[in-house]
């Protein structure tokens, strides 16, 4: 394993400090327990949005803390859910009279740790679970995983909260976006978790892994490598079967890189995916291409389609000022 680190034990802390220093105009870093919160105070009564999860997916979630998006993010150890005391401390720091909305990717560890925190904090709170990964059947025993669609939920709900929507309304909007969003991913390689020092799994040079999550783990099946067009067809077809978009349906198309796949390839994937949806009459109104929900140094990408109506598009377009997403200000 070759990485820029001093020691595996201090990596997360050194990195979070660096993140907070580089973005000191937007965020601050609480070291004990770990959480990232906004630098600027919020309007009193605003619903406080808190997300979190294992680290290793940067910029998710810390990169989305700031005006128009999250109030705080709770980073766990690499690929390890954060602990309830992090969410409790974050809630205490950012709750501002409007209650707390947790945005949680549907993984056993995240769900249970956020649930414990929700049981223990005393302000009013609610939770939106994100489960956009269609590589698993809808009736999967644990429910589906939350993957790259999470940032869309965070952005849209973030705008609603900034606009003064209350806790119940924010939760409802979050669930509506989650319902309207589907993703599927494919990996070319696994990644190397620093504490382990070697790749989680090895793929041959002629194999790819279909239906992967975002933890460098194996997916649904290993298949022979195919052309980019065929890969896009397979991923998009799974999304289509889930969302069944109507003709002229406005949508956001998000191509997410897992970390080691160059932009030149992600833009090629975008091209093919946009063609796929255009052929089916879907009206791609917004786009997002880049490394947003990563798996350390995994090579691969996911396609996310989110069926956003005019109201939701407005929330997507609302000003945002975070480390990783910024527009309108």
């Amino acid at each position: 394993m070759k990485k820029f680190i001093n020691s595996v034990d201090t990596l997360l802390n050194e990195s979070l400090s660096g993140f907070a220093m580089a973005h000191a105009d937007i965020v601050r870093f609480n070291e004990e327990p770990h959480f990232i919160s906004r630098q600027a105070p919020t309007q009193s009564g605003k619903v406080a949005l808190i997300s979190g999860g294992g680290s290793g997916h940067e910029p998710l979630h810390s990169g989305f803390v700031g005006h128009g998006m999250l109030d705080a993010a709770c980073p766990g150890q690499i690929f390890t859910s954060p602990t309830p005391n992090q969410m409790m401390a974050a809630a205490q720091a950012v709750e501002n009279g409007g209650g707390v909305l947790f945005i949680v990717k549907n993984y056993a560890g995240d769900v249970m740790n956020f649930e414990m925190a929700a049981e223990m904090i005393d302000c009013s709170n609610a939770t939106v679970f994100v489960n956009d990964d269609v590589s698993l059947p809808k009736n999967h025993s644990t429910g589906r995983r939350g993957v790259a669609g999470t940032l869309i939920v965070e952005k849209v709900v973030g705008a609603a909260a900034e606009n003064g929507k209350d806790l119940a309304a924010c939760k409802a909007i979050g669930e509506r976006v989650n319902e309207a969003t589907a993703s599927m991913g494919v990996a070319m390689t696994s990644c190397t978790v620093p504490a382990l020092g070697k790749p989680t799994f090895i793929l041959n040079d002629d194999e790819i892994e279909m239906g992967v999550g975002i933890h460098g783990e194996r997916g649904r099946e290993t298949i022979p490598i195919k052309s980019a067009t065929e890969i896009v067809e397979q991923l998009s077809t799974a999304i289509e079967e889930e969302l069944k978009p109507k003709k002229n349906q406005p949508a956001l198309l998000h191509i997410n890189g897992f970390g080691a796949t160059p932009l030149i390839e992600l833009h090629l994937i975008y091209n093919l995916a946009a063609q796929f949806w255009q052929k089916r009459g879907v009206d791609i109104r917004r786009s997002l291409v880049g490394n947003y929900t990563t798996s350390l140094d995994m090579a691969g990408c996911s396609i996310t389609l989110s069926l956003l109506d005019e109201d939701l598009l407005k929330l997507w377009d609302a000003p945002v000022h975070t480390a990783a997403l910024r527009w309108g200000m």
């Binding site: 859910s81 249970m112 025993s141």
Partner: protein, 209 residues
Amino acid sequence: MSLFPKLFPAMIDAVDAIIKQNSESVTELDQAIGDGDHVTNLQRGIKALKAKEGEISALDWADALQNIGMVSMSAIGGASGSLYGTLFIAMSKAAKGQELSVSTFAEAFAQGVEAVKRRGKADAGEKTMLDVYMPVADCLKQAEANSTALPEILKQVCATANQGMESTRDMVATKGRASFLGERTRGHIDAGAKTAQLMICAIVSVLPK
């Protein structure tokens, strides 16, 4: 048996040693069908508990369990962090105001395991640590009902834990991270079941027989 909180430093040392000894093989299990962090997670908890072993060993057993639960919950992280936090905190609740005995311990343990089932929305046969903890809880209850002698109980507990751990090999995971791999999980022992067995047998080994 009332020696429990006093023996805590010895227990945590034994747990530390056995996890260290098996860290590579368990990590391989979690890499095969999980994400490979299970040992690191537990070791963060063990380290945090060792730092508080003096304090904990001076408490009564209910408070000791509460303390162990809070430390586990805050240090481990991941699925296992919340589950071990839940286990010990629920055990502590059941222990509150009770004298430590085989009977009260068996009851507290059973309550803890029930809480884990609820927290994880899981049951036996889903290829998790519950496939070790549930039979062990039953075994304790049974032994108590039969008034089995302590050395024999301990032997049975360890054997049951072993069996439970082995039984996960042929299961298809339906809970936790491994569930995403479906049929691909068959043939691999569950990492959380393996460490549960290792830790139970390590603790058993330091108890006076």
